[in-house]
Structures are given as C-alpha cells and as structure tokens.
Symmetry: T
Subunit: 69 residues, 12 copies
C-alpha cells in the first residue's frame, strides 16, 4: 500500500496535434524512467511561423511509481 | 426568457484523442438527459501503461436546459 | 532587444477538433495582423445540438510582435 | 452532526440583474429539491444582442442537505 | 461554421450597480464595434470616497464576431 | 474502454477531522450510488462555536462509473 | 509618494442585492477606519431559507491608507 | 440582518496534524477576538528537519462577527 | 462619471530587470494610445541562453481611458 | 512549538522598483508590529501618468508571530 | 546567503490519513535526497473501493537545499 | 521537430532583488544541466529579520531541452 509516485514536468511538441505532443513527451520520458502511470495536462500553447500554426506544445506532468528501496 | 441550465460533471475516455473522449461522455449523457446545450472542458489527463499512452481522459461540465415545470 | 509583443484574445471554432479551431482563429488573425509568433490556449468549450457535439471552441491568446516605430 | 450537503451547478438568467438571475435558478431548483441551504456564485456572464445587454447569466452552486437515510 | 470571435477587455463604472457598469462598458464598445455577442465578468471592484462607495467597477471581456474577409 | 464517470459535489462534516468528514460524505453517497471510484478534495472549511472548532467541513467531488446502457 | 495601504477582508450581507451588501460592509468599516480608498470583491455567496434567497453575501477586501507616522 | 464579518489570516502549527494546527490558531485568536464563527483553509504546508516531518502548518482565514456599533 | 477603460495585453522585455521590461512595453504602447492610466502584471518569465539569463519578460495588461464619443 | 503567525495585507509603492515598494510596506508595518517574519507577493501593478510609469505597486502579505499570551 | 532550493513533486498514500500520506512520501524522498527542508500540499484526493475510502492521496512539493558546488 | 523540454522547480534567493534571485537559481542549475532555455516565475516571497527585508526569494520553473537519445 505504501507506494509513492513522483511527477516530472515536460513539454512535448508536435506539428500535428496535442495528443501527439503528449505521446512524444511520454515516449521521451520512457527512455529513462520506469513505471510511468498517468499524466496531467498543465498548459497548451503553440508556435506560429509565417502565418501558420507550426507547432502544438503540451506542458504535462508525468507520474511514475518510485521503486521499493 | 426565464430558462435555467444545469451542469453535470463527467469524465470521458478515449484511446484516440480528447475530442473522442468528449464525444463519448456527451453520448453517455444523452442516454438519460434531454436538451444538452454546451460543454466546458475542466481538466485533461490520461493513463500510461507499458510505456504507452493508453487513454485520454477529459473531465467536462455538460449543460442542459431544465424543462419548464 | 527591445521588442514588444501584443496579445489578442480570440475564439476559434471547428466541427472537427481543437487543433482546427485554433488554426481557424489564427488564420483569421493573419488577415489583419503581421508577425504572429505564438498562442496560448485559455479555455476549451463546445456546443451540443440534437444530442451531438457539433462544435469545438478554443479560446486562445495570439501574440504578435509590434513593429518598430 | 453527521449531515451531508450536496451541491448542484446551475445557470440562471435574467433581463434585469444578477440577483434576479440567482433567484430564478434557486426557484427552479426548489421545484425538485428540498432543504436548499446556500449558494456560491461561480461565474457571471451575459448575452448582448443588437447592441444591448439582453441577459445577465449567473452560474452558481446550490447546496442542499441530504436527508437521513 | 468557421466564424471567429474576438474578445476585448473593458472596465465599466457606475455609481449605482454592477449591471449598469456592465451596460456602460458595452454601450461604449458599440460605438466602434459591430456584432457584440456576449460578455464575461472578470473582476468586480469599486472606489470609496469620503466614507461612501462612490463607484462600482466591472472588468469584463466583451466578445464580437469578426466579419468574413 | 468507453466507460464514463460522473462526479458529484458533496460537503461532509465531522467533529474530529477531515478524513472522517470525507468518509461521512462518501458513506452518504453509497446509499444511493454504485461504483464509487475516487474523490477529489475541493475545499476545507470549518465552524467555530463558543471559542471551539466544533466542525470540520470537507467539500469534495466523488466520482463513480456510469453503468453501461 | 511613499504611502502604504492596508487591506482588510470583510463579509457584508443584504436581503436585497450585492451592492447593498458591499455598502453595508464598507459602512461598518468606516466606524473604526479612516481613509478608505477602494474595495475588491473576492467572493459572492448567499443563504437560502424556506425555498427563498434570504441573503446576499459579498466577501470583499477594503483598502485604506495608513497614516504617516 | 445587517451584520458584518471580518476575516483575519493566521498560520497555525502542530507536530501532530492539520486539525490540531487549525485548533491552535483558532485558540490563539480567541485570546483577543469574540464571536469567531467559521474558518477557511487557505494553504497546507510543513517543515522537515533531520529527515522527519516535524511540523504541519495550516494557513487559514478565521471569520468573526463585528459587533454592533 | 461614465468613463470606460480598455485593457490591452503586452509582453515587454529587458536585459536588465522586470521594471525596465514593463517600462519598455508601456513606452511602446504610448506610441499609439493616449490616456494610459495603470498596468497589471500578469506573468513573469525569461529567456536563458548559453547558461545566462539574457532576457526578463513581463506580460502586463495596460489600461487606458476610452475618449468620449 | 505552538506558535501562531498572523498575516496582514499591504500595498507598498515606489517610483523605482518592486523591491523598494516591498521594503516601504514592510517599513511601515514595523512601526506598529513586532516579530515580522516573512512576506508573500500577491499582486504587482503600477500607475502610468503622462505616458510614464510613475509608480510600482506591490500587494503583499506580511506575516508576524503572535506573542505568547 | 546564495543557497538554492529544488522542489520535487510527489504523491504519497495512506490508508489512515493525509498526515501519514505526507510522511510516507517524505520518508521515500529521504532515501535518495539530503537536506529536505519543507513541503507544500498541492492536492488532496483519494480512492474508494467497495463503498469504502481505502486510500488518502496527498500530492506535495518537497523542497531541499542544493549543495554548494 | 520532436524535441522535448523538462522543467524543474527551484527557489533562488538574493539580498538585493528578484532578478538576482532568479540569476542565482539559474546559475546553480547550470552546474548540472545543459541546454537551459527559459524560466517561468511561479512565486515571489521574502524573509524579514530584525525589521528589515533580508532576502528576496523567487520560486521559478527552469526549462531545458532533453538531449536526443
């Protein structure tokens, strides 16, 4: 029962949509972290260049279980 | 003129994206409620399993008109 | 270095999804403004009609660089 | 001592002012609920038509005591 | 379907009440803008002078439809 | 996968502490609802009488799964 | 130039409307304080009794100038 | 009917829990104030020393009725 | 008495500090607007380059009086 | 251990910067209060006159220890 | 004087109460971090299973001093 | 395009002003992190000792680019 979760804050980006931006950030997190469990969207922004939306940016908190010591 | 709206809070889920999560919640609400009028997104979260985003979760308030008594 | 940005607040709509709603609002802004640089999502809502989600609405702040006087 | 309150969220409207919008929503709630006890204003908005403020809208949470089972 | 709304932020004042403060701001906005559609109250403040409330101030966002280009 | 949750807002009270206030509200909810799944604390308040804290009040959202139709 | 303001938080009540609730709180403050300058509305609530809105409650911060020492 | 409440902001501390921290702050307030009526929890923090949680800190607003002048 | 203020949102930047960032944004605003009256700081951010804070960015709302029509 | 802190809310002003505005408010507070311990910045605003930022205004909460009774 | 603190975000859980949930998270943090100094409660939630509150969850930020390099 | 940023939360302190507090925290972060890109101010506080503001404390989020794996 006495598990603990840690949350880290990431910004993922995508040319297509926020869901892909989230997936990109989570994929990056999985390179170094185990036991990812959930995420919470904190902020949605984006970049405009030459009159076009060129990037969707999702700031999210990703939670993972700290392993038993 | 003296209409009143009621808002209920739902969480819809989808494997694909937030728009589908919203539509799923609204579809569920239409099973028991009439006169749905608008929704407001309250929170966006999701679940990660086995290193993958497996679920987008949208918490929303759904508003409907209370019928004349 | 001493550039200044102005932000205006818009609501874009789309039948499909929030990304398109954002793009529609940005496209509208480009008709009269130059140098659009980024946007910040402020609120996500939508309209329901006849038991269907018929419209996704994204309120966003769009930032652009004020030209040197 | 072990009473419980439930809060529901309503939007009341009025052509005149926010107090009447609140009273209208509360009056509507009394049609189906007993033991209304207090309300909390959540949001104030309104509609403009033909250059006139035609409607004041008050979103409020209305609390009532759940009866002893 | 692809309409866009713009929101501007105003502070209206009144000696009498917030509803009149809102109406004053909206009336001022109609001098230069067409297609006003709704408003959202952002903040309520006021001024006190000589021990009296002499002014109610309502900060509001006023939304209007951007015309088709 | 396409489950939906509904959240209702309750205020539970206790003479002892917030955990008991939460448990009281949840116990009340279980009288009429099935499938309660989680809660979120929204606000903590309390009542003082005769110089004593006589009541801890926890406002919480309680979520439950809507049954398949 | 080096003036300082202090803000105190009050809840005023009225049977009629929020403007009178504010005025009542400010009038009470003037009994013991000099140099009241502005107020900021923090929260709007109310009490319901016997199916009627019997009281509008405005929580506000009232600011006054601290006198030169 | 025309009563007014004043709220003051306090931080109470306890080695044991937040409820005791709240009670300590309220007890301190009763030394100089009459007619305490309710409190609202604003923030929960704590101090860690030598790898132990040594102190729970509750910031709260305490409301009391201003006496008739 | 029936004056109205409009607020616009700007981001000013400075290599030195937030006060200069604010002054830069206000100076830019005075090129095209009359009757600037106050500002409200909305957000403080900055840019880091090559391990150095190279820019302080202040997002602010600037208010000005709309002229009598 | 059972110490209690009280927080008061002040607005300090300065022609130069926010740090001086804070120091001015704290200096004013020390005229009548003992045991000031920390402050929390609540809001940053300012006044513009004749196209110049003439005043930085910092709203802050100042905390001090209530003496043992 | 030029010390720096880092804050990490954790979720601690407990079957009993929020204070134990906090202590569990802090105890977990002490396994890998030195110099823990304070914590700030960010969110309180919990899990319900079989009509019972089975878990209190406290999301908190834990601060620790970065060691001199 | 598929870059990801991570944000960490720091508190920097300075005897002089918030800009130096921010620079101190960023300088500390550069000891162990590469590719710092921007920061966001989260909270401004300070310490008072012996009637003097002795420390400005800036809580900020510092963002840096995660390197390609």
């Amino acid at each position: 029962m006495e598990r603990t979760y840690k949350l880290i804050e990431l910004v993922g980006v995508s040319e297509k949509n926020y869901e892909e931006a989230i997936k990109n950030a989570v994929a990056k997190a999985t390179e170094t972290l185990f036991g990812l469990s959930w995420f919470e969207v904190v902020e949605l922004r984006g970049r405009i260049d030459d009159n076009q939306v060129v990037e969707f940016q999702a700031k999210l908190k990703v939670a993972f279980k700290l392993i038993k010591s």
